[in-house]
């Protein structure tokens, strides 16, 4: 059996608060794999830890504990040289293409920058730049332009071309279409699907937009306050989610169909996310959960097999109770 391209094991990213003695547990025990050529989506609302997870994988944020392996190799704590060597295999595309590009650099120089850093000869680099521009559908005539002469969608193509320059095997896509207009989003999503089919890329796709995620992802991980609430293959999770948070999240998306939307029953959560400084000891979702029982406030559930994959919910999945899990192991 081949090993998954990316393996994340019990990853934690904690931020100690200077002077105040507290700790923000942005990511608190997250495990998953991204197989080669597949799309795994991390979804959740602001503060759930999805972006911090991605940054820790890329070494942009130091992991407090846990392990990240790429192609079988431990990459959790690499030095600068190790990171630079890894840049050929793993790249990130950020949400806002305008912020991700130097306004004074030409498109060709921006796309060629990773090649220059890796010491490519200029003639070979130039050939590669035009090859990836072609790959992402940018006309060669754009090479000498600066980002301000381009539209938002074209800029995101430039950012994707730059990420592809070194022929990576994994792209981390952090809300890649959220800053784009509706009519441009579908162009970029189609491009990402084409590139995956052509190049066999693996995607770690981070998004708060569940309609987009459902369209593009093979597997989905729903995060809530630094932990995974539910995971599974896209179809079963969307068809019949197990975790009440996933249910609420799905029911909250307004459908672009007035007849269907007005017939829907919506689960409206009360209250806001708890402060990341005061995450409850039990289920992190218990403070807003319509199903919460007294035990949910005390015991932190673990991921256990569910009809749609795995879910961490004591009410729906009795095996998610860590005590039950221990008892089962002892039997």
């Amino acid at each position: 059996m081949t090993e998954p391209l990316l393996q994340v094991r019990d990853l934690r990213v904690h931020f100690p608060l200077r002077g105040r003695g507290g700790v923000v547990k942005a990511v608190d025990g997250v495990s998953f794999n991204v197989p080669a050529g597949r799309t795994v989506a991390l979804v959740g609302e602001s503060g759930c830890g999805k972006s911090t997870t991605a940054y820790a994988i890329l070494g942009l944020e130091p992991a407090t504990s846990g392990e990240v392996r790429f192609d079988g190799r431990d990459i959790t704590r690499l030095d600068r040289a190790g990171r630079r060597a890894l840049a050929g295999d793993m790249q990130i595309v950020f949400q806002d293409p305008s912020a991700a590009l130097d306004p004074k650099m030409t498109i060709a120089d921006s796309i060629g920058e990773p090649l220059a850093i890796q010491g490519w000869k200029s003639a070979a680099a130039a050939r590669r730049v035009f090859a990836v521009m072609d790959l992402v559908g940018l006309p060669a005539s754009f090479a000498g332009r600066t980002p301000n002469a381009l539209s938002g969608g074209q800029r995101q193509r430039v950012v994707i071309a730059r990420a592809l320059a070194l022929s990576p095997r994994l792209l981390v896509l952090d809300e890649p279409v959220s800053a784009l207009d509706v009519s441009i989003r579908s162009q970029i999503l189609n491009l990402l699907m084409n590139l995956q089919a052509e190049l066999g890329l693996a995607y770690l796709f981070i998004s708060h937009d569940l309609s987009v995620v459902r369209h593009i992802a093979d597997e989905i991980l729903v995060m809530y306050l630094g932990t995974i609430a539910e995971r599974g293959l896209t179809d079963p999770v969307f068809a019949a989610p197990t975790h009440p948070y996933t249910e609420a999240l799905l029911s909250a998306i307004p459908l672009p169909d007035p007849v269907a939307q007005r017939r829907r029953r919506r689960i409206v959560l009360t209250g806001d996310l708890p402060s990341p400084l005061a995450i409850p000891p039990g289920c992190p979702f218990a403070t807003r959960c319509p199903l919460a029982q007294p035990r949910c406030v005390e015991v932190r559930p673990v991921l256990a097999p569910s009809p749609s994959g795995q879910a961490a919910c004591l009410v729906r999945i009795p095996a998610a109770d860590p005590d039950a899990a221990t008892r089962a192991a002892q039997r």
């Binding site: 189609n190 593009i216 969307f238 029911s251 459908l255 007849v259 007005r262 919506r266 959560l269």
Partner: protein, 332 residues
């Protein structure tokens, strides 16, 4: 209240007639006419640069400095707002009509307790004293779903979440019971579960108080949920309008049809290629002559170099500005 002649009860509350706005001479809103009846929600929908926000801001004279209204009239409950000077407009704002903006945190005064920000309109427009205004402000904060409003009224915006700040904005906008609420992307900056709360709140206000809402959004899901009527904008013009169910069921304008078809759907075929609208929105100084969508329209023909009028299509209550609505049905 103004002493304009009392309008008939069934007359529209808000009428925008042939509004045109330019920025440095470039046409950003061109010939927009809207009519909003009492108790209804009209969604003005389109992508960035379509002119929807500038249209909304024009209504209360809130255009940014660079923008200029060059044509058109806005009438609120029979009163011509475009004839008012800045002082008179300031009396209308927050009293007869209010705006809530996309960024609740940026739109609140960071140095003022949120209760005072809600009470301010009451002191200004209703002449209430400090204590009366405070009491009413707390009651309003409770109505928009802020728990423990008595205590939260003492908080500064940075102490509240984004969803709470948007509730404060809505409370401040509604506390004087305005006839018209203009909501400019009211949930765009919020998480989806918080968006659901705010949309629920707006539904409630409508049902209880019969609020009349002009909703500005790019989100077709929010339109489908909230609106009675829709006006779709492209290139500073209304390209299509009508009741929400009819319009979504069978859009008449190629732009509306394609826009709806580009959105990934929760019930669509996964991993399939999505419909796209080719090209990009031209900048405001580079609109093509005639129909402004024709540079991206798959149905564009010679006739489209003439500006199509917004004319009845499909039914008596629908309008579209397109020469080729008969062919559009085959598009998507």
């Amino acid at each position: 209240m103004s002493a304009a002649s009392p309008p008939a009860a069934d007359a529209p509350l808000l009428v925008v007639d042939d509004l045109a706005v330019t920025i440095n001479g470039a046409s950003v809103v061109d010939g927009v006419s809207l009519s909003l009846r009492r108790g209804r929600v009209l969604a003005l929908v389109g992508e960035s640069g379509c002119g929807k926000s500038l249209t909304a801001l024009s209504i209360l004279g809130l255009l940014p400095k660079a923008a200029r209204r060059v044509r058109g009239r806005v009438t609120l409950d029979g009163q011509d707002l475009t004839a008012l000077d800045e002082r008179a407009l300031a009396r209308v704002r927050g009293d007869q009509a209010s705006v809530i903006f996309q960024e609740p945190v940026a739109s609140l005064n960071p140095l003022m307790r949120v209760g005072d920000q809600v009470a301010e309109a009451l002191r200004l427009h209703r002449g209430l004293t400090g204590e009366e205004a405070r009491r009413e402000a707390v009651a309003m904060l409770t109505r928009v779903g802020i728990p423990d409003a008595e205590r939260r009224a003492e908080a500064y915006p940075f102490e509240l979440s984004g969803g709470m700040c948007q509730r404060v904005m809505i409370a401040a906008a509604l506390v004087c019971q305005p006839k018209l609420l203009i909501a400019d992307e009211p949930t765009t900056a919020l998480d989806v579960t918080v968006q659901a709360q705010i949309l629920g709140l707006m539904h409630g206000l409508r049902a209880e108080a019969g609020a009349t809402i002009l909703l500005i959004t790019h989100d077709m899901g929010v339109v489908a949920e909230m609106a009675d009527d829709v006006a779709v904008m492209y290139g500073g013009r209304i390209v299509e309008s009508g009741p929400v169910e009819e319009l979504f069921a069978d859009p008449a304008h190629p732009y509306t049809r394609l826009l709806l078809a580009t959105i990934p759907r929760l019930d669509g075929r996964r991993k399939e290629h999505l419909r796209t609208i080719e090209g990009v929105v031209p900048t405001a100084d580079q609109w093509p002559d005639g129909c402004r969508f024709r540079s991206r329209c798959p149905l564009a023909a010679d006739i489209c170099s003439r500006t199509p009028p917004l004319e009845p299509v499909r039914s008596a209550v629908r309008r579209a500005a397109c020469w080729r609505t008969a062919e559009a049905a085959a598009l998507a």
